[in-house]
Amino acid sequence: MSVLLIAEHNNKELKPFTLNAATAASQIDTDVHAVIIGHNCEEAAKALSKLELVKKVIQVEAPHYENFVAENFAPVIVKLSENYSHIVSSANTFGKNLMPRIAAAVDTSQISDITKVISNDTFLRPIYAGNAFATVKSKDKKKCVTIRPTSFDPCESSGGSAPIEKAEAGEEFVLTKFIKREEIKSDRPELGTARVVVSGGRGMQSGDNFKLITSLADKLNAAIGASRAAVDAGYISNDHQVGQTGKVVVPDLYIAVGISGAIQHLAGMKESKIIVAINKDGEAPIFSVADYGLEADLFEALPQLLEELNKLNTIQK
């Protein structure tokens, strides 16, 4: 039987993690169909049909799908699920909000946040903030799986030519009303997919001091991350949080500044290729995962680091 992938989008474009989820879906079964639910999401549906791994697109349109309310989405997917052995989405806030609602409706014990497909019923997933990995085998007939996007490569966004079928919309769930979404727009690379991430913690001491992180991120074309402590203290907004209950990042270079390295933070970044830690406390646990540790006052080290990076550029020119 085929796999049904739930596309994430903003009605105009596909969200990048849909490509990672498509890869994971194709490792379960190569017959991947993708459902896109939205309002005036023609363009995103076309982009979906071009994904190399997608064999068929099912588009479901209605005004009440404009804001991705799970109570509206779930019945659509439950109805389509009759024809599928697996339902797959990303384990980001979109998929986390939606998938359990589907799983409960089809009476399936969901498998969350997998990092590897071992076979079509067996998966690897982190537990205890990534301090252990469990191999789990689903005995349910229909399987609901969310995937950790950073553990799967994005598929090619071109080369496919899947047919787009329209499916009938469901009724509106009137007890839940979308009011507003406050998105912080930025020209920076997205935290989840950036090649370089510069993160600040409680050691930054104020929101104003985060300017030092911003300058370094500008220099390295990096995304900006933060520990939970920094977000809780109001230094920076929640969408920057890296960790067990925030985002998981796997950049080539992760620079942790003034972050002590609680296990909950490490859960979100310890798979990064190269980790740099700058902290004045030489005993801070962040040093245990760092490839390069610099025991220094960040307020001295960051300006120096910028200066050194500037020098480097001059030499390269």
């Binding site: 609602r101 799983a103 014990s109 252990a132 789990v136 839940t176 610099l294 050194e308």
Partner: protein, 249 residues
């Protein structure tokens, strides 16, 4: 208004967990246990709503072995009025938990159900949404702000892109983020008083729900260890290493 809060007993968030040598799970013997952190936020929010006069009763419910009662007792010590322990043994998956909670909801008829957005042991992030689906109630997940209206709630949710605000009609389910509030500590007099508050015990088997696990955990392993790193003595050395050794800048 009546609020039901579901709490879970987990290994304390400060404990560095260890995988059992036979790879069947993690070591839980003689390990400090606590309330799942965002469940503390759920209790705190419910108690705050009651203190503001907008709720009349807060019930804390947990599902698990006899010892899970400690978690309910703690909720009673910070202001819940009554506790429920649904007794079970063995592994419980979120689907089973949500089915048991559905039975408790049908019995207690709360207007609101709160719980943490995720348990820090299995990291599933499912139970609230599943319960909401089973009851066909509105859900507000990852809540960082709750405003009580007449017959609804306005909830600010933390999403990957930033913040989202939705309005949900009661009855409803809310799963709480750690930023929702600052959970209080129980005072000694309140801990003493909590010992006199009632905890109703119900055997899961009496609720007529199939809670047989559907997922077989075949192996639990340690994560791959990172290769030990080095300390650099200066910023210049750091930059040189990143450029010439790691080749990432």
């Amino acid at each position: 208004m009546k609020i039901l809060v579901a709490v879970k007993r987990v290994i304390d968030y400060n404990v560095q967990i260890r995988v059992k040598e036979d790879n069947t799970g993690v070591v839980t013997d003689n390990v400090k246990m606590s309330t799942n952190p965002p469940d503390d936020n759920a209790i705190e929010e419910a108690v705050k709503i009651k203190e503001s006069g907008k709720a009349t009763e807060v019930i804390a419910v947990t599902i698990g072995e006899e010892k899970a009662q400690e978690t309910v007792r703690k909720a009673l010590a910070v202001g819940a009025d009554k506790g429920i322990l649904v007794k079970t043994e063995g592994i419980l998956e979120p689907l089973a938990v949500s089915k048991l909670l559905q039975k408790i909801v049908e019995k207690e008829k709360p207007d609101l159900v709160f719980m943490g957005k995720q348990a820090i042991d299995d990291d599933c992030n499912q139970t609230g949404q599943m319960l909401s689906a089973l009851l066909n109630w509105p859900q507000a997940t990852f809540a960082s702000k709750i405003e009580i209206k007449d017959k609804s709630l306005e909830v600010t949710r933390e999403i990957d892109e930033g913040l989202e605000t939705i309005e949900i009609n009661l009855p409803a389910i809310v799963t709480c983020d750690l930023r929702l509030n600052e959970p209080r500590y129980a005072s000694l007099p309140n801990i003493m008083k909590a010992k006199k508050k009632p905890i109703e015990q119900i055997n899961a088997s009496e609720l007529g729900v199939d809670i047989t696990p559907r997922i077989e955990q075949t192996k639990v392993e340690e994560p791959p260890k990172r290769k030990a790193g080095i300390k650099v003595s200066s910023v210049a050395e750091l930059v040189q290493k990143l450029k010439n050794e790691a080749k990432v800048i």
